[in-house]
């Protein structure tokens, strides 16, 4: 830890707790945990300033493995609990770890409201498109017709696109990464950490027991990864032979570069205030276009709930002075009863 110059330099191992990691062998969560632990020193914070809050599910066990403060809470409620912590302790770096069922099903309400408030939380959604901990029922991100133990004839509900939900909920930062893509995930975590306000990150995560290979089309086939770079035309493919264009109706789609030409490509801008560009990009999926955008879709500055609340407290003190209990109890009409 010590660099010998009086400063402390933390490494990944400083963020490993003494608890045995208990995910299934081969689970994508291991890769994500390793990236997070390796990334943590980049925050430049001492461990006591960092808190991981989770709900319920496989992903939600992550806080137990982090040598930081942590709370493994209630199914779906982590954003609400983390909101209380973050707004009352602006000095902390608060991370929420959640899954597709936790965040988008039972906790959908808390997720959208924390995003619209722009509470200073970093929300990492591990999306494996299945309920793992309860042993293999379909989730709100499972594809229509998914055959699972609870849907033997196929699921009937249309899935959520997590990024579209987040953008629709007024999220100020939205990004996506892959569990095994250490570089891409690290970059996204860094951008999320630097963003002041709510940062929503979908991490495509393989559940090798109940939904193995769900993301092979982008996890294994790297040519299908569209890495978004701000202010650059969107190109991808093994030979950079493909790109993304925007149609007159505002929607985006994948094209061959030869067809569109370099100048015809859509130029990405994560800082664009209007969410329509990020939303159009979120609609590009493997099912629609055979490719998956990764990286930062949207990153805009917007007033942060925690800051606004702190400001109100300061304003109130400036206006009324520090609260005085004695004066409060005697406020309004009072009268004195004297001894006879």
């Amino acid at each position: 830890m010590s660099k010998g110059n009086g400063l402390t330099q933390l490494g990944a191992k400083d963020f490993k707790s003494d608890q045995e990691v208990r995910w299934c062998p081969g689970c994508g969560d291991y890769a994500i945990l390793n990236v997070i632990q390796s990334f943590m020193p980049e925050l430049g914070l001492t461990r006591e300033r960092i808190v991981f809050v989770s709900g319920i599910g496989c992903a939600a066990r992550l806080p137990y493995y982090m040598q930081t403060y942590g709370m493994h809470s209630i199914h779906g409620r982590a954003p609400a609990i983390a909101t209380g912590l973050a707004v009352s302790r602006p000095d902390l770096s608060v991370w929420v770890v959640t899954g597709d069922g936790d965040a988008l099903s039972i906790g959908g309400n808390h997720l959208i409201h924390s995003l619209r408030r722009n509470v200073n939380l970093k929300i990492l959604l591990f999306n494996n498109k299945i309920y793992g901990l309860t042993k293999g029922q379909y989730s709100p991100t499972s594809e229509l017709g998914k055959v699972t133990k609870s849907t033997p004839m196929g699921s009937l509900d249309h899935p959520f696109n997590p990024l579209s939900v987040a953008i629709g909920a007024e999220a100020s930062f939205v990004a996506r990464a892959i569990d095994t893509d250490k570089k891409g995930l690290t970059e996204v975590l860094g951008a999320a950490a630097r963003h002041r306000g709510s940062a929503f990150v979908e991490i495509l995560q393989n559940c090798n027991i109940y939904n193995d290979g769900a993301f092979d089309f982008v996890r294994e086939e790297k040519g299908n990864r569209i890495y978004l770079e701000s202010r650059a035309p969107i190109r991808f493919g093994a030979e950079s032979e493909k790109g993304v264009v925007q149609d007159a109706d505002g929607s985006a789609r994948v094209v061959d570069l030869a067809e569109a030409g370099e100048d015809g490509l859509l130029v990405h801008d994560a800082a664009q205030r209007e969410p329509s560009l990020a939303f159009a990009l979120s609609r590009i999926t493997y099912e629609t276009d055979g490719a998956v955008p990764l990286g930062v879709f949207r990153s805009v500055e917007r007033p942060v709930y925690d800051d606004l609340m702190s400001q109100q407290l300061e304003d109130a003190r400036e206006r009324s002075g520090e609260g005085n209990l004695e004066a409060l109890l005697h406020s309004g009409d009072t009268w004195i009863v004297r001894t006879d």
Binding site: Y64, T83, G84, R89, V337
Partner: protein
């Protein structure tokens, strides 16, 4: 009408009478005027001696329309005075109220002294020189005319109300002018009209010396939470979702930001409690306020707080149920819910306020227990306490209890290990180590924890141990709360045991029973879990125990189960407080049996 009632109460309080109020209003914001469900009432009882209830039978009823007369006349004492606004007794209004004939013209009010006053038209007449108000606004000032009349009738001081009108309507001076004129016109009408032959003088009550103010239960609760924050040194964080009759507390605390109070109006009741618990993890005094239909949604958070062993104050301002029930009406039927409404063995201390002003002390006590024992605590109030008001001897801030605590600052042993579930030997409370404290990084969660280390454990014996430790910690609070006080001046055989807002009615009934020469003892529980340590001895020492409750016998069930005492109940669940007279009858019947 609620505003008018509040003002009369203020005048009465400042004059020095003892008083108690019972606001009674519909849940609908603008219920159809003149309809029976739309009647908004305000009952105030005041006297030259100390009183305990808003009174069973008012002596004077002011009815602004036929519906108000119909709904309230049954409560009035025979021979009482009825003041009616004759302008509102139109055929249409009579029909809306379900009167076949005009009660002012048939004999149906012959048992009462009736003053028929054309309140609306006299108000409009008095305001004809006020510029800038509509005729509708002028008509609306009639409540201040009525207030002026009542202020004259009972010789109330009026300076407070005049100042209040100016401040309240400062942004619309013409409305302030209209209300002031209407108020004075009402006063003058009383003085000059021969209709009112007498006015009454009720001398100030002989109360304990000190500085007083009038206070409602929700305000006292708000002040109590602020005081708890100051006394503990912990910043207050309130997570709440609007719900009747608890919203006042959210609104009032939102005005207390200069006390460092953070109020968070959450997306739902669940998030409200979750955020409060998250803030508690970070070292705040976490509070969530609601009523029964919201409390049910908080059960999972309370369960988590039980196993995390973090302080959390959960306020339940009870209202009539089940489900949405009658939102503005009081009930005491959430006791068993807060005791047992969670999965598994999940003990939670319960504190109950008994009077509006008592909400102040109850809030501090709930905070004291939560902080000292690292536990969620339920604080029970109800719609009657919340909205009712009474004079309050303002406490000396310096004499309030010290409820401060210390956060964990260093590891538990010389090996530099922090044990988040290593308990204090006496209280069984665990250390409260807040994020930001170097070296104490730890993880807590809803999974069962190993004793001392807090690590996840599925060990059978450990689980049994932890279940018992959590139970013993809450049970042990009995050693740290006052004994149950019994008021038994004559050596009675019958004990009346109560809790919550029945305090006043039980006390008033017991006085009457004793005046009749009978003997009765009373005791009132302020802690429902755990019970005061002498509770068993007290209830076993009487031949008969009567437990009046505004539910079907919830405390009775607990007392019978815990102490094997064959207590009997007096239970009415009407969405209104007990009358002293009905309890007097119930006690008398039992004493004489």
């Amino acid at each position: 009408m609620q505003l008018t009632g509040d003002r009369f109460t203020s005048e009465t309080a400042v004059f020095g009478n003892d008083l108690a109020t019972l606001p009674d209003f519909p849940a609908e914001i603008r219920a159809p005027a003149g309809s029976l469900p739309g009647v908004s009432g305000f009952q105030v009882h005041f006297a030259d001696h100390d009183i305990l209830t808003p009174g069973d039978q008012p002596n004077v009823l002011v009815a602004m329309n036929p519906a108000a007369l119909k709904v309230n006349l049954g409560d009035l004492a025979k021979g009482g005075t009825v003041i009616v606004n004759t302008d509102a007794f139109s055929d249409r209004n009579l029909q809306k109220a379900g009167y076949a004939t005009n009660p002012l013209e048939d004999a149906s009010l012959s048992d009462f002294h009736v003053h028929a006053v054309s309140l609306s038209s006299m108000t409009i007449e008095a305001l004809k020189e006020v510029d800038g108000i509509t005729s509708r606004e002028a008509e609306r000032s009639k409540n201040f005319f009525a207030l002026g009349l009542m202020s004259w009738l009972y010789n109330r001081p009026i300076e407070g109300t005049l100042g209040f009108i100016d401040a309240k309507f400062a942004k619309r001076p013409e409305i302030a002018e209209a209300n002031t004129r209407a108020f004075k016109a009402g006063w003058n009408y009383g003085e000059t009209s021969e209709d009112f032959a007498v006015s009454y003088e009720i001398a100030p009550a002989k109360l304990e010396p000190g500085t007083y103010r009038q206070i409602s239960g929700n305000s006292a609760l708000t002040y109590g939470l602020i005081a708890a924050s100051k006394l503990s040194g912990l910043p207050l964080f309130l997570g709440a979702y609007p719900i009747t009759p608890a919203s006042d507390v959210l609104e009032q605390l939102a005005n207390m930001k200069h006390f460092g109070v953070r109020t968070f109006q959450a997306e739902d009741e669940i998030a409200a409690s979750g955020a409060a618990l998250g803030a508690a993890f970070g070292g705040s005094l976490g509070v969530t306020t609601s009523a029964g239909p919201g409390i049910v949604l908080k059960s999972e958070t309370v369960g988590l707080a039980v196993t995390l062993e973090l302080p959390l104050i959960v306020v339940d301002v009870q209202r009539a149920g089940p489900s949405t029930g009658m939102p503005t009406k009081p009930e005491q039927a959430d006791l068993l819910m807060v005791m047992f409404g969670r999965n598994s063995e999940s003990p939670v201390p319960v504190v109950a306020a008994s009077t509006p002003a008592g909400c102040f002390d109850a809030a501090i006590e709930a905070a004291r227990i939560a902080i000292k024992y690292r536990t969620p605590v339920f604080l029970l109030s109800d719609a009657y306490l919340a909205n009712g008001s009474e004079p309050w001897l303002i406490p000396d801030v310096g004499a309030l209890p010290d409820i401060s605590t210390e956060f964990a600052a260093s590891p538990s042993d010389e090996e530099n290990v922090f044990l988040p579930y290593k308990r204090d030997a006496q209280t069984l409370a665990r250390p409260w180590a807040i994020p930001g404290t170097p070296g104490l990084e730890h993880r807590i969660g809803g999974l069962e924890k190993e004793d001392e280390t807090g690590n996840i454990s599925y060990d059978p014996e450990n689980h049994d141990l932890m279940v018992r430790l959590r139970a013993a910690k809450v049970a042990g609070i009995a050693a740290d709360i006052p004994e149950l006080e019994v008021d038994d001046p004559n050596g009675a055989d019958t004990l009346v045991l109560g809790w919550g807002s029945t305090y006043g009615a039980i006390g008033a009934a017991a006085r009457r029973v004793r005046t009749s020469g009978r003997k009765v003892a009373t005791a009132h529980l302020h802690h429902l879990n755990p019970f005061p340590r002498n509770t068993g001895a007290v209830v076993r020492s009487y031949e008969q125990v009567l437990i009046p409750e505004i539910n079907l016998g919830q405390l009775r069930m607990l007392i019978r189960a815990e102490f094997l005492v064959d207590a009997v109940g007096y239970n009415k669940v009407r969405g209104r407080p007990f009358r002293a007279a009905e309890l007097e009858d119930a006690i008398t019947a039992l004493v004489d049996s």
